[in-house]
């Protein structure tokens, strides 16, 4: 606990220090980066020690804010969510310091590092807070700090638009959370989380309402469909390490909130599980489909965050199903898989975003259609990106596979052991997971193939260069973790055990039993995969020894027998995705602009597709237009005269006074 407090203090002091020294870019960068890294290191030690010992540590002081108390606690669940926070804060700081070392950012470093450190501190407070007021304050600081980080390049119009969309959606979510906490607090009599814990039976029939409020409020931060619209706007606008931090860990605070809510509202029903799995399935499938349609790498990755949040929801849904039907193994595998995916996604998504940052840095574009052939020019970035891509697709032996496999195993177990009605959600979960997995592979084949293979499609791409060491090593660390978690998969249930015990009221022995089953399966899979890897290495080595001393010739990729091939004859990102997207044209409508070549010797012709967000265009835009039309009718209230404003206040006060006294 003391380490966590120390981490908070360091982050705050370093952030303010960085802002005060903003005149000197070197100093402010050193302070901001140093504070974030050292704070993260200290906090990491604190979180790991609690994970290892399993004994929660708390601190409680009184606070003069009404209904507030400054109580914080570090238990297994908090410690588990803190692991990626500290890991990514440290790595993103190292990466960011180098990323922002260009002269054009020099005047903005002070505020950047202030808000960076504030963001990391507020995320820690959100996760350890044990009072609703403290939680909401940290939640709000987190939202504002990330808003200022997203709008670093605020002179660009697209960044302004993204910033507004993010600010509005995060505040709508927070408004719902206020309602949620007030309702919960009025039931339990206090805004301390301890009192929520015991409020389960007092809440009664309103539990479902609270559950839905939590889903909307926390889900907006997490980015579930249909409240995901800020993700594909904010991530491309933000600097890459900020995208990594936001997509990697900040949206996970939404998941954290939902898991906490599930602990408070015990006795979930099968309908809840169906809701979670439904949301998860829709988010996952729609997320990956929209990702497939994107031509901008960071937008593509943002939609993959929506997809992965969907997978996490599927896991939580299977866990809730286990609780509702009293099947411990489902609970263990569902929650275990979902929570492990939280950690995994933060690792590989950050890896991919940092890779996107390197592509932008080296090739000066994120548009897939202008890249190509970067693997030869940026071997480090390309290889690490490949590791991340394989991991996010959920392919063995990397970490994404482990968590998705646990969810699969839980869902299949449900199909076998539950009756027909209760099994429906798990069947849906299996179908959704399978569809998501296949489409994700298609999507990352497209992303990696178009960017890193083939021939450069533009001048910039052919002049691309590898990034500096400080921008490569964070990626190497994350890629190594992807591999490590994949190989140590049989041990992962051990790490998850205290967390699951806290989320679901189960006997410790039961959890261990359920885990033993999956552990053996995972061990076999990892063993086979290691053998495959060995075989592949052997073949590669063989190829090399065979080839030495023989004549070798290099040829152009995509030669295809043409006499004069050009890079423009390659598959484009749009054409690669088209066969799949045509199948789902009813859901993902892509407006096309097509000028047909005319005549025997056509001079010009063009084809392009747009990729608007279907939910934003069909649901949110009309809804906001209606709201605007209604609200414009009240515009006459805003006269601009101070006298009238004071009159409004006076009338309100007097009416209230008379009303109470009548």
């Amino acid at each position: 606990m003391i380490l966590i407090l120390l981490c908070l203090a360091i982050c705050t002091v370093a952030g303010i220090g960085a802002w005060l020294t903003r005149r000197s870019p070197k100093l402010t960068s050193a302070l901001g980066q140093g504070g974030a890294v050292s704070g993260a290191a200290l906090g990491m030690v604190g979180a790991i020690s609690v994970m290892a010992s399993g004994i929660p540590e708390g601190l409680r002081c009184s606070w003069s804010v009404p209904f507030g108390s400054c109580s914080i606690e570090l238990d297994a669940l908090s410690a588990f969510f803190l692991l990626p926070v500290f890991l990514l804060t440290g790595l993103a700081a190292v990466y960011g310091a180098r990323y922002l070392s260009q002269p054009k950012y020099a005047s903005r470093l002070g505020s950047h590092w202030l808000f960076f450190n504030l963001l990391s501190a507020s995320m820690v407070v959100v996760i350890v807070a044990r009072n609703a007021i403290l939680f909401l304050m940290a939640w709000e600081i987190m939202a504002l700090a990330s808003f200022f980080l997203v709008t670093l390049e605020h002179e660009r119009e697209s960044v302004q638009r993204a910033g507004w969309i993010y600010l509005i959606s995060t505040h709508l979510g927070t408004a719902v959370l206020f309602f949620f906490f007030i309702l919960l607090g009025s039931k339990s009599g206090s805004l301390d989380f301890d009192s929520f814990q015991s409020a389960g039976e007092v809440i009664g029939p309103q539990a479902t309402l609270l559950f839905i409020l939590a889903l909307i409020g926390f889900g907006t931060k997490a980015g579930i469909v249909p409240v995901h619209v800020w993700l594909p706007e904010a991530h491309p606008a933000a600097p890459s390490h900020i995208s990594a931090l936001m997509s990697g860990v900040m949206i996970k605070t939404g998941i954290y909130g939902i898991v906490r809510t599930l602990i408070w509202l015990d006795n979930p029903s099968v309908e809840w599980a169906l809701t979670l799995i439904g949301i998860g399935g829709v988010s996952g499938v729609l997320g990956v489909l929209l990702a497939l349609a994107q031509h901008d790498l960071k937008r593509l990755l943002a939609y993959h965050s929506v997809e992965n949040i969907g997978i996490i929801f599927l896991g939580l849904g299977v866990g809730v199903l286990g609780q509702a039907t009293g099947t411990p193994i489902l609970t263990v595998l569902g929650y275990g898989g979902g929570l492990l995916h939280v950690l995994n996604h933060s690792i590989f998504k950050a890896l991919l975003f940092l890779g996107a940052g390197n592509v932008l840095h080296g090739a000066h574009t994120l548009n897939l259609e202008n890249t190509g052939g970067l693997l030869k020019r940026m071997p480090w970035t390309g290889t690490m990106f490949l590791v991340g891509a394989v991991a996010i697709c959920g392919l063995p032996p990397l970490n994404g596979f482990v968590s998705e496999f646990m969810i699969y195993a839980g869902a299949f177990h449900a199909v076998q052991s539950l009756d027909a009605f209760a099994a429906i959600p798990s069947i849906l979960a299996i179908l959704a997971l399978a569809l998501i997995g296949g489409l994700a592979v298609a999507c990352f084949t497209k992303a990696f193939g178009i960017i890193f293979l083939g021939q450069p499609r533009s001048q910039h791409a052919s002049e691309a260069h590898e990034s500096a060491a400080a921008m490569r090593w964070p990626m190497v660390v994350l890629a190594a973790l992807c591999v490590l978690i994949g190989i140590l998969a049989p041990l992962s249930p051990v790490m998850l055990r205290p967390v699951i015990l806290q989320v679901a009221p189960l006997a410790a022995l039961l959890v261990s039993d359920s885990m033993a089953q999956i552990q053996t399966t995972l061990a076999v899979i990892v063993g086979v995969m290691l053998l495959c890897a060995l075989l592949a290495a052997l073949l590669l080595w063989r190829r090399r020894t065979k080839l030495t001393g023989r004549a070798r010739a290099d040829a152009v990729t995509w030669d295809c027998g043409y006499a004069a091939p050009t890079a423009r004859m390659q598959y484009t990102a749009a054409s690669f995705a088209q066969p799949i997207l045509r199948l789902v044209a009813g859901i993902v409508r892509l407006p096309k602009r097509f000028t047909q070549p005319k005549g025997y010797f056509p001079s010009a012709g063009s084809f392009s597709t747009e990729t608007p967000d279907v939910v934003e265009r069909e649901a949110w835009a009309p809804a906001f237009r209606i709201v605007e039309r209604v609200l414009m009718r009240f515009r006459w209230i805003q006269t601009g005269s101070i006298h009238l404003y004071i009159l409004y206040m006076a009338i309100t006060l007097i009416v209230l006074l008379i009303w109470k006294l009548w």
Partner: protein, 211 residues
Amino acid sequence: MQDLLFVLLILTGFVFLGSGRMQFGIRTVALQGILLGLIPLLGNLQDLWARLTALAVLSLAIKGMVLPYFLTRAMHKSKALHEDNPFVGFTASMVVGIICLGGSFWIASRLPFIDSSQPKMAVAVSLFIVLVGFFVIISRRKALSQVLGYLVMENGVYIFGVAFAVDVPWLVELGVLLDVFVAVFVMGIVIFHISKSFDHIDTDQLSSLTG
């Protein structure tokens, strides 16, 4: 004796509502301040007399002399000698004042008091003074009038405090005095800036700033 003071306070309220000349308004507010300062002295002094006297002297000095002096200076500087064209005319203001007075007495009669021995008259008067201040802020154009309205409102709050918190006067008084100080300070800045940049101090011209 206290009732006489309260009646005088009500009268100052009406005079203030009906005054169009700034100088006269400032003097009325100063007179009101002096009357207020006397209230604690007229109660049962008992062993608190030293404190209460000090308080009365301080209040007299600030509300009766310092503030009027500064306000007069601000008036001459900004050349706002007269409230030319108020939103509500002076006669109509008096009518509103009468309604406010009736309303205040009604509210005072309905308020649930902890101790029935508390003077209802003081509550009614304090509410009336607050409402008068509020009304002047709403209905007058010049920023200086609004400062005066604000001061009158503070006076109302002060009466309420004196009537109810005789036992802990320091807290209330210091709080109120601090409020007044801050208010005048802020308003002074506002007046100065408005007259600087807009060449007059009609606050309704600020409406050109709406979106």
